[in-house]
């Protein structure tokens, strides 16, 4: 029996980390999946969460498409259409440090066929940067997909706050892989 999903790396945020970087990613799996619970240190409702494939932030290789709902829009969804392409887009969101205490955001992303050298890479993403106090007009739930227009195999990934503060201690992350 070949186990389908396995955890390759996991940890908790400590010491004011502004990024978690996975390097030397095992190329013997088929698909990568990330599960992150995090909160940003910035004094705002929502902090952008960036995912840089192979840690690339130049060359205009990223595009985004999806939808999000803001807490101030009474449930009306808006489109996220960042066809740029751009160098380092805000893929998803986590809550900032002004939302209700002890609240973390759940984030999930899936990158099919990450080790391929035939195709560019596309990732599913979703995040729930809500504000349980109910007053956060900038809280957003997001379903967004991202294409990275490069055919190189993905050997490293950086998740980071894009230079806006750091991850509050106590959040956690998992990088898993589907065989």
């Amino acid at each position: 029996m070949t186990i389908g999903f396995q955890v390759l790396a996991k940890g908790t945020f400590t010491g004011n980390q502004a990024a978690v970087v996975f390097t030397n990613i095992d190329q013997s799996y088929s698909h990568l999946q990330f599960e992150i619970t995090a909160r940003g240190s910035a004094a705002q409702t929502r902090v952008n969460l960036h995912m840089n494939m192979n840690q690339v932030t130049t060359g205009g290789k990223y595009k985004l498409l999806g939808t999000q709902v803001a807490s101030s829009s009474s449930g009306t969804a808006s489109i996220v259409n960042d066809s740029g392409p751009t160098n380092d887009p805000a893929f998803l969101h986590i809550c900032g440090n002004t939302v209700q205490a002890n609240q973390l955001t759940a984030v999930e992303a899936l990158i099919p066929n990450y080790s391929s050298t035939s195709f560019t890479k596309v990732a599913f993403g979703k995040s729930n940067a809500c504000d349980q106090s109910g007053s956060g007009a900038n809280a957003k739930r997001r379903y967004v997909d991202m294409v990275y227009e490069d055919t190189a195999a993905i050997t490293s990934i950086s998740w980071n706050t894009g230079g806006t503060g750091y991850f509050i201690d106590g959040g956690s992350y998992i990088m898993g892989a589907w065989k």
Partner: protein, 186 residues
Amino acid sequence: MAEATELIAEQVVSGSSTNQITFSSIPQTHDDLKFIMQYMSTDTSGSWEFDYLTTHINGDTTNDYYQQGFMRIRSNNSPLPKMQTGFQSRISYDSIGTSLNGQTNPGICEFNIPRYSDSGRMKEGTARFAWLSSTASDWTNGYCLTAPIAFWVYTPTGAITSISFKGLAANWKAGSKFSLYGISNS
């Protein structure tokens, strides 16, 4: 509740003559099935840079046996997301990147089938799929899309023993990958 996952089978396309990917003789020993897929087609002569991921269950192409719905976001936000209705002869998701006009980006799909071996009820499943073109005009014309929430129904009640995926107009491009996992709850 613990959950165990097993790789049942994986198919990676080589060459340019594969029109259909079929997973047959699916073992009936798991609770649920999950597919994770990334794919392109070889088509260079169609009208658009995308094509339809066409799914058939148990080789069944009977008209009106399938129904699907999804919240589809187009890159020009038109039309606004809406749920499709109506029965048809397949599950059909417009998520394949073709090779027309030098388009280079693949589509991706996650496809889930709970209780696939149950022989006493219709089958319902969920999916998520996306295609984000490498061609700028596809974005302005609204051809790029993502469907973060998709559902389908297959009305016959027999156990699912085979699933096939094909593009309507062309063959799969080399490097396309289709993975099938079994999920067991214990």
